[in-house]
Symmetry: C2
Subunit: 221 residues, 2 copies
């Protein structure tokens, strides 16, 4: 029998207070949202000033990872192990109410607080990069030219353990005031999501190389 993972414990930072029904603290919900997104926004503080950097991320177990050039300002800072706020937000629809006040957006979001930790060990770093590729295009990793020692050195991978975490989700139609329901105003939801256009060959693609089937396995949102 599979054991159900414990929920995250809400803290002063993560507890959703104003619309408490939108707050979720179970791992299933948090992991589902994290596995649907591809881009996070990482917040950190340098000399008292806030920075927010958008970057690709992926999840493995109870950690999220992101990476980049070892020369990146963000990653050089994060290697020192500072506090971060890791946020993922997916817009799912425009919620058009009968008043501006109740107009809203449907979304799924996750906010996680903690300390960024660099992945120091080479083999672990390589395994994490393989997981990244698996997230982007399942099955693509074995087709690629192998990562070199120099590339591995030039790449910084950091992770954040998921401990102080909450998801916040808004779904469904607008919630209008009772006295507005009889107005002749259209109300409803305009669903919104990521869509892919057909893959475009690199103009320098080697003659005879065709699109791999795994491109159809890409999922975002």
């Amino acid at each position: 029998m599979q054991q159900r993972l414990d929920d995250f414990t809400p803290t002063g930072r993560t507890k959703v207070k104003r619309a408490p029904d939108r707050g979720h603290y179970d791992r299933e919900t948090v992991y589902e949202i994290l596995d649907a997104g591809l881009m996070c926004h990482v917040g950190y503080v340098i000399d008292g000033h806030p920075y927010v950097t958008p970057t690709a991320y992926w999840r493995m177990g109870n950690r999220v990872y992101w990476h980049g050039s070892s020369a990146s300002k963000m990653l050089r800072h994060l290697k020192t192990g500072p506090r971060v706020c890791f946020t993922v937000a997916l817009m799912d629809g425009l919620v058009l109410a009968r008043s501006a006040f109740h107009t809203s957006v449907n979304y799924r979001s996750v906010m996680a607080f903690g300390t960024a930790e660099p992945v120091a060990e080479e083999a672990e770093k390589l395994a994490r990069l393989e997981a990244m590729m698996e997230r982007i295009v399942p099955g693509r990793w074995p087709d690629l030219r192998p990562v070199t020692k120099q590339e591995l050195k030039a790449t910084t991978v950091v992770s954040l353990k998921l401990e102080e975490v909450a998801a916040k989700v808004r779904r469904g139609p607008p919630i209008d005031d009772a006295e507005d329901m009889d107005l002749d105003v259209w109300a409803g939801v305009v669903p919104l999501g990521y869509a892919f256009a057909g893959p475009e060959d690199d103009p320098q693609l080697k003659t005879g190389v065709t699109k791999p089937e795994n491109l159809s396995k890409i999922r975002i949102g």
Copy 2:
């Protein structure tokens, strides 16, 4: 003759250093990206800790605005006029190179630093909310039930003047190493963007009310 607006002046925080060709400091590029996006991520610092809150925003002239409940933790904090980092990022495609190292994402992003300022005056606040609605669904504002005094009071609108700002853009195919070009690996771009599904009527929509034509004017991304 229309005067060309001055470029933004890069600072230590906004100058794009590692891939300088991706950095843009002209208002046309910055405004175009800001006008394409709908969701920003606002970074701020409370008690030395970073927070990143996703929220809808809109641009008017040389300012960006966002809003929410006056009871929101973020907005109560921002009313005190702290430093913020305002980031917008749009993913435009997956850049699939012949190596993991050169695998990338096409994107358009804007990062702006400054001090959040609340919109205090009622008439101005109302005009800003009208601009927000115009951004979401052009032409919808006059159809809505007018904003009440209580709603205006319960809503906080803040703005950020665009001064310390840069855009960062990656476009085009993968840039592989010369020695990898002959590999039998497919490389190219999988374009990615927001798509709308057909609007869904509110289940409680008044009989006889039809979808307005302006729903076709919604543009995001």
